[in-house]
């Protein structure tokens, strides 16, 4: 009799369990970000490593401190640690430049974890993406101190040089093609920018890993990047020379792969997601053209706030449901 009791489990639904947990997905995202982080350290030196490490540590610590204040036990916090604050910290560290003061990432990581995530109810309850918002917080807070983006120590392959400070986007949107070749833009050599966003190759490798592990749907970033590039081309009078530079410069790739695809801040349905990423692409390219600045993070933040609207109006059709047709001739 005792054996039979062991075979049966009594539990409320759901009864089907899947090995994919939040923790596993978040660890996958961390792994996918490692190539970008390594390339950032190679390009920008040990200061980049310091910034990334500080950012991750302060993100994890601020989550733990918040939970301790809320009266959770330490062993419970460690047991339920789901690595999402790790991802937030890593992304935060990758989206600052090496000339940012070291304390800026601490403020940014603490802001993104505590204010954006924990105050709204923790992992999966946040309204906007914590990493994007933290990045904007740091950008707004310390950009005036920092001033300009600095170029990596590895020079460009084609020999062209960008003077430190003038972002590629700024020049591009004002109508001059960059002096760097598309290969330089792709590899990030000689390209000033954030630690993690310069080497597109590493980011795409991470994106492919995520797609293979089925963490993200590869269609969505492709739609986003494609629409943003094509709309930039259209705004420049259908000059297709602008397509690759506008796609490969700035934070579009890292935003498309790692920030815009956050589960909590995208619509629920497939159709909703397609519409969402198309609108996001149009918004990014349009705002870039209007402001002559890199606005990927601002566009993602703005669209995150509209996700509830997408979920309200684009809902999946229940199986077997038919829309009530109009009666011809009217009801008389």
């Amino acid at each position: 009799m005792a054996d039979n009791v062991q075979l049966l489990t009594y539990s409320p639904s759901p009864h089907i369990k899947h090995p994919r947990t939040t923790r596993r997905i978040m660890i996958d995202v961390c792994i996918a970000l490692i190539p970008a982080a390594v390339m950032g350290v190679v390009y920008f030196g040990l200061k980049a490593l310091l910034l990334i490490a500080l950012s991750v540590i302060s993100a994890v610590l601020s989550e733990a401190v918040y939970l301790l204040i809320r009266g959770k036990k330490i062993d419970e916090i460690i047991k339920k640690f789901d690595f999402s604050s790790c991802v937030t910290g890593l992304l935060m560290g990758l989206t600052v430049g090496t000339n940012y003061p070291w304390y800026s990432v601490i403020f940014g990581a603490a802001f993104s974890v505590i204010v954006v995530k924990m105050l709204f109810g923790g992992t999966g309850k946040n309204v906007v993406n914590p990493a994007v918002t933290g990045r904007i917080f740091v950008f707004m807070s310390f950009q005036s101190v920092v001033g300009k983006w600095i170029a990596p120590s590895v020079g460009s392959l084609s020999g062209g040089a960008v003077e430190t400070g003038a972002t590629i986007i700024e020049g591009l949107m004002k109508g001059s093609l960059p002096s760097l070749s598309n290969l330089d833009l792709f590899l990030g050599t000689g390209l000033p920018g954030c630690i993690g966003e310069t080497c597109k190759l590493a980011l795409i490798v991470g994106g492919i890993y995520l797609a293979v592990r089925k963490v993200i749907n590869p269609l969505y970033p492709v739609i986003y990047v494609g629409v943003a590039g094509l709309f930039s081309v259209a705004l420049k009078g259908f000059d297709f020379n602008y397509f690759l530079p506008s796609v490969l410069s700035g934070g579009l790739i890292i935003g498309a792969i790692f920030m815009a695809t956050d589960y909590t801040t995208t619509p629920d349905t497939f159709t909703g997601n397609v519409v969402y990423f198309v609108v996001l692409g149009l918004l990014t390219a349009g705002l870039r053209e209007a402001t002559d600045m890199e606005v990927t993070s601002f566009a993602i933040l703005l669209m995150n706030l509209l996700v509830p609207l997408f979920d309200k109006f684009i809902i999946s059709r229940p199986f077997g449901y038919k829309r009530a047709g109009k009666v011809k001739g009217g009801a008389q």
């Binding site: 204010v115 917080f137 707004m140 807070s141 950009q143 005036s144 101190v145």
Partner: protein
Amino acid sequence: MKTNVKKIAKDGLLSSNPTLKLVLGTCPTLALTTMAFNGIGMGLAVTFVLICSNVIISLLRKVIPDKVRIPAFVLIIATFVTIVRLALDYAMPELYESLGLYLPLIVVNCIILARAESFASKNGIFASACDGLFTGLGFTAALTLMGAFREILGSGKIFGFKLWNFSIDFFGSSAGAFFTYALFIAAFNALSNAVAKKKRAAEYKAAFAAELISDCCAEARPVECAACGDVKEGVKKAANGADKKASDGEKTETEIK
């Protein structure tokens, strides 16, 4: 009718603080709290207008017809705002510059119209003047605190004096204004909730203690007062015994008859 100044003061400063509790006059609150000094200037200007308009509206409350009361109130308020503007422009041109558009906009400030509508048009002159003073001071205090918070974090200064060379520009921007406002409202609510909870606990304890005493000792005190169950049983037993005795007594009486 006696004026309860203490209650008016408590209402204006804390329990219905215009900025932190009623969330009125948010436009100047968000725009002018970049510096603590701006907060004080704006707050005192509003306080002056509030006192004067409350007094005049209270004086005229029986004359103003009900249907046109809002235009009448606005006219009175606008008069005093004009006085404040001209006076500030003469006496403190720098503050006048930094308050800018928000000074004439006091005319349509919700706080002043709300106090005129809900208090001054129903109460006497002295009560209305007190209400204007304390509501205005509540507004000034909230604005000054928020201004100091944003000035220290946003530019590393307090009242224009440089404290250190560190600043988080976010708190100086308009997004930071909304964030600071939310933080202050949350902190204020948390504080007032904690105070209310403590008060309730004290009241409950007092009431509970009184009840215990009445439960225990109103009846004849039982022999052992160790635990409540014992007490009640003891009381019950005593009552039963009394009943029994009474019935016994009756019986004996009838028997005697």
